[in-house]
């Protein structure tokens, strides 16, 4: 191969092939995905993020939660995601159109968070406690004390937003960012059953036929 132009044309062709073949094709298929309109209730799903939750998404992004948490539930029978109750169904592409930045993640040093808002115990107080002092709830997770305002409580005038008042009289109040982040985490629940979210289940007949 002596021709420089040939090398360049080839290098161009290879990268153009993968870009159009993978990225642009996926964009063509899914880039225009719209909310699903429930034919009976006439409601739209997925529900968009509230303003506060969208601010929380930005906090999730800037704190790099994606370093240790995925946001994708794999289908029944592929990994233990459903069995661990990380979701009731697999995640589908439509679930993600409500987020401006889609961070499905690639590391599960922490648990999956895609449906963390749907879990029974997931009220705001639970999340605040988790962020302020995770050591008792989630071993391995760092504390996010900087998301809280800790100051001397004035007796009789404790903030109604205070998470708690310590024994030596300090109140711990979530900052605006903590509130936004918790609103985002609480918004994470993919519960609507889209037609395409039907899990793939191998029927017993098929298994026997295959053997």
């Amino acid at each position: 191969m002596k021709n420089g132009l040939l090398i360049f044309a080839g290098a161009f062709a290879t990268i153009a092939l993968s870009w159009t073949g993978v990225v642009l094709s996926a964009h063509r298929q899914l880039g225009g995905l719209k909310q699903f309109k429930d034919p009976i209730e006439e409601s739209l799903a997925p529900v968009p993020l509230t303003g506060l939750a969208d601010q929380g998404r930005a906090v999730y992004q800037d704190l790099g939660c994606v370093s240790c948490h995925t946001q994708q539930v794999r289908r029944e029978g592929f990994g233990s995601d459903i069995a661990r109750q990380w979701g009731t169904r697999q995640s589908v592409a439509r679930d993600y159109i409500r987020e401006k930045t889609v961070l499905i993640g690639s590391s599960r040093l922490g648990p999956d968070l895609r449906n963390v808002g749907a879990r029974g115990y997931a009220n705001a107080e639970y999340f605040y406690n988790l962020l302020y002092s995770p050591e008792r709830i989630a071993a391995g997770m760092p504390a996010y004390k900087f998301l809280f305002d800790v100051h001397k409580a004035i007796p009789g005038q404790v903030s109604n937003r205070a998470l708690k008042v310590t024994s030596d009289g300090y109140e711990i109040v979530p900052t605006r960012r903590a509130e936004a982040l918790v609103a985002y985490l609480q918004s994470l629940k993919d519960t609507y059953e889209y037609p395409e979210a039907k899990p793939f289940v191998e029927t017993p007949e098929k298994k026997e036929g295959g053997k």
Partner: protein, 479 residues
């Protein structure tokens, strides 16, 4: 390649001298980033087994420290070292001096400014959270602008070549020089400037990450292997005629393989299937490279072990095959189900960045730095320390991430195991990971000391001037 003829020799010295300052600027800043990134990486690694470490300082929270470390490593060390190596080798193989190198110094300043702002940006909260694209958007303009200057220099150096033939290392360097800006520009555009909708972002991100590893880091490592093996052993590449097929094969597959990172994810099945198939097909290309490189090495391993450069290159070649095997395994659905999202996927990327690419750059630097500065390495014991630390560190990380990831996969797959128990079970492996990173850091510090001695323009410690033997003549068959 280079008959031991005195005219050629003088010309080579001139070429090496012309590359001196740009190469030193890029490689010196690369080394500083290697240490800075390594320290950040160690901090982030310690946080995984001791979560309270630096947790109360927002700048150093794990979710910021980890990507900051990775970006410092990839863009600070990886790209800078790649620039230094590519510029030098391209000038040498094109038998032409590197002209007007002053512009490259300008580019080096702006590139490093961009990386520094990017890393600080991540730590102060401007992270985009897209893997390997976490730096805030404004930095990308600085990086792209300075990259253009560097890339153009690589290409024009090739354009004014005085050789008739174009060698394999040149294909790989040219390819990488062209692929990187395309990948970077397209990813920036699709993820940050005009974000695509929904999971297409995940597809674009996977394409970028896989492309950056497979179309920048791997090609440069291979360029080094294809150059130094014949150069130092004095044997031509075995079955060289198939090298060109290997090159194109790897180029096509590496681009398409990105989707394999999304197996089981919320993307259309064809995306991950295409990626998996590309990772299966790439084996043919890896075999070709194996025939070339291992065929050249066959029977001469002990000779290769005598050269510091080749000892590092051999590590890189070994890791290249290991990476291909791991990519193959992770593309099998059964194994992906088990190992996805564990430390094993981290191992795959780390192997490319460190064991394949960085070792190749170390090897290359041990060859080109004495030649461009005209001085010998001052402390051979530091070279030994660097190599020893690299070998031990790589082994420690392979065990920590491989065995740790295996354990993690087993426990994650069993829904009866509480998540907290998985975290606890991983602690010994994560500690071993920190130990490995400390070892690597020691090796890098040793290398930096030697580098300062050889690169310092003032020779106050009286470092000896280097005298180079003629490279061994190639055993070519006369036709």
């Amino acid at each position: 390649m280079n008959p031991p003829d005195d005219n050629d020799r003088a010309e080579q010295l001139e070429i090496d001298a012309s590359a001196k300052w740009p190469v030193l600027a890029f490689f010196g800043s690369a080394l500083l980033w290697l240490l800075a990134g390594g320290a950040l990486q160690l901090g982030a690694s310690i946080q995984l087994h001791t979560p309270s470490f630096l947790a109360d300082c927002e700048w150093f929270t794990h979710g910021r420290l980890a990507p900051a470390a990775q970006n410092a490593f990839v863009y600070g060390w990886g790209l800078n070292a790649g620039f230094a190596f590519s510029l030098w080798l391209m000038a040498r193989l094109s038998a032409t001096a590197l002209r007007s190198g002053g512009w490259l110094l300008v580019a080096a300043v702006f590139w490093n400014l961009g990386v520094a702002l990017g890393v600080i940006g991540i730590m102060t909260g401007a992270s985009t959270s897209y893997e390997l694209l976490e730096m805030p958007h404004f930095v990308s303009l600085l990086l792209l602008g300075s990259y253009l200057l560097i890339g153009v220099w690589i290409v024009t150096t090739f354009g004014v070549r005085n050789t008739e033939n174009v060698y394999a290392s040149q294909w790989y360097i040219l390819g990488a020089a062209f692929w990187f800006p395309w990948l970077y520009l397209a990813a920036q555009r699709m993820l940050i400037e005009v974000p695509v909708r929904g999971v297409v972002q995940a597809v674009a991100n996977a394409w970028y990450v896989n492309g950056l590893l497979g179309l920048w880091f791997v090609p440069l490592a291979l360029a080094a292997a294809y150059y130094f093996l014949p150069k130092i052993l004095g044997r031509p590449i075995r079955d060289y005629y198939v090298a060109v097929i290997g090159f194109w094969w790897l180029a096509v597959c590496a681009g398409l393989a990105g989707g394999s990172r999304l197996i089981g994810g919320p993307v259309p099945a064809w995306v991950s299937t295409v990626g998996a198939v590309a990772n299966f097909l790439v084996v043919a290309g890896v075999v070709i490279v194996g025939v070339n490189l291992l065929g050249t090495l066959a029977g001469h391993v002990s000779a290769a072990q005598k050269s510091t450069t080749l000892r590092f290159i051999l590590l890189g070649i070994g890791a290249f095959f290991l990476t291909a095997a791991l990519n193959f395994a992770l593309s099998l659905r059964g194994f992906a189900e088990f190992a996805q999202f564990t430390l094993i996927t981290e191992l795959r990327d780390w192997l490319v960045l460190y064991a394949v690419f960085s070792t190749a750059m170390f090897g290359a630097a041990y060859f080109f730095l004495p030649r461009i500065t005209g001085k010998v390495w001052r402390a051979p014991v530091l070279i030994k320390a660097h190599y020893g630390a690299a070998v031990l560190g790589i082994l420690a990380l392979i065990v920590a991430l491989g065995a740790g990831g295996w354990q993690q996969g087993l426990l994650l797959g069993n829904e009866h195991v509480q998540f907290a128990d998985i975290t606890r079970a991983l602690v010994p492996f994560l500690v071993l990971r920190s130990v490995g990173l400390i070892l690597l850091l020691i090796g890098h510090a040793a290398f930096l000391i030697n580098f300062v001695w050889i690169a310092c323009p003032v020779n106050f410690r009286g470092t000896e001037t280097a005298v180079f033997r003629h490279p061994p003549a190639l055993e070519l068959h006369k036709t």
